[in-house]
Amino acid sequence: MTATDPENTGPRKAGPADGAAVSAHVSVEPADILLIEDDAQDAFLVEELLADTPLDSRITWVPTLGDARKHLTGFRGCVLLDLNLPDASGLGLLREVLTAVESAAVVVLTGLHDEHEGIAAVAAGAQDYLVKGQVDGSLLARSLRYSIERQRADENARQLREAEMYARENMRLERGLLPQVLLDSSPLSHLSFYRPGRKRAIVGGDFFDAVQKDGTTHIVIGDVSGHGPDEAALGVSLRIAWRALVMGGVAEERLLPALEEILISERAQEEMYATLCQTSLDVEREQARIRLLGHPPPLLITSGEVKEILAVPRPPLGVFPEDESDVEEVAFPRGSTLLFYTDGLVDAFDGGPPDRLEVHGLRRILIDVLDRGTSLTDLPGQVVDEAERHNGGPLQDDVAMLLMTYGEQA
């Protein structure tokens, strides 16, 4: 097979590396033209001029702005607009058309003595202007083609800018929600993990933190209800407030009531609440004190066995504030690991709707992954992979995980 194949049209040849095929593809794509022109003779002339050019065009002709309106919304080609219509004219007409089309190119037609109008139109957002009577077919075709391509490039640049802004915003929020934990002199080792869900461009309100204070390591993991920038911002506020309370020496049993007051004063809407699990690890007594507020319980891994901690959750933070009550105390001997997670993980489907993994399903997955001899370092990634397999694809929601081990992590 040589490079010169006369029948250069096969779909296999349309790859990005094949320059000839790509440019051919561009020039044969038909251009949608919406011609808004009240003069039937001028309209006929445009059609005739274009018919003689290689530009493959589909022309829709309407004589007034009123007739054009129903075509404008969602139109993606090029509008060829006479600036003197019976029902509208000038820059006012242009602005209405530009607003209505959003993502189409607009080229205006002016009379011989109104060229200044054409220049003003370009300044106001038209891609180009053409003076009637001075246009031949190739100039018209080139102007339309270039305008469509320029409009497309502008549109792409705008989308790219938007995506970059989102990405930067997400990074900023993620740093606030998922920080470097403060465990420098702790006998505990930790591992954190985060995988965003597929449902949106902005991060959710999942957050975690761990701070060592006076021989006890306090851990929090939580999730602000709902999704959006308000929720993520509240997650950041809660995480930093909680860290400040711990570092400020507030007693363990006072941390969550104080955090609840902060949530109530900071939330944007009355309905917002947070589910969370706070755990205080007392290595001297080899004990974990667990407080659950509307959050699924952590899993305890001790010498290869996985235990679901059967703590009874209180309502979430910010629902109906109540005084400190249930604390679940469990043994946390050297070598054990606690796995904390947000509910995106247990909300995964278990083989398909409507069954969800839930905590016992997560425990099952954890046992399987550990049985394969997986190290703790690889554990979070493999657990989420496995949850995605059960779910039949990427998880809907974000997942944050934090592993805390008394001693070194194998």
Binding site: S225, E270, E271, Y273, P313, F320, P354
Partner: protein, 115 residues
């Protein structure tokens, strides 16, 4: 991916029948209905959840918001639900301590009146 809402009066109680999915997209409609009912003076509400297929954290927030609203008028908001799938959500979020959850509309009304 849809939510159907209906409501009717029984005794002095307004029964709200919810069918489908209460999620971040549909929850605003349930919120509107609850606010509207309370504004019209209905302070004893029963939300029948027997035909709810899915409930997310935003949906829970709307129910809690409704409960706060009726409590401000010395009212009640009880739920009717026997579906294990939905009950589990209330259990794991600790909200069984907040809502009265009953097996039928009649039971919900009777229990409230006997209090």
């Amino acid at each position: 991916m849809d939510l159907k809402l209906d409501h009717y009066t029984e005794d002095d109680t307004e029964i709200v029948v919810v069918e489908g999915e209460i999620d971040v997209y549909t929850a605003p409609r349930l919120r509107e209905l609850l606010i509207d009912l309370v504004n019209k003076g209905n302070v004893h509400l029963v939300v029948n959840m027997e035909k709810v297929e899915f409930l997310d954290s935003t949906g829970l927030g709307v129910l809690v918001g409704g409960l706060k609203r009726v409590r401000a008028h010395d009212g009640t908001l009880d739920l009717v639900c026997t579906q294990e799938r939905i009950l589990k959500i209330f259990r794991i979020t600790g909200l069984t301590k907040v809502f009265g959850i009953y097996e039928s509309v009649q039971e919900a009304i009777d229990k409230r009146k006997s209090k």
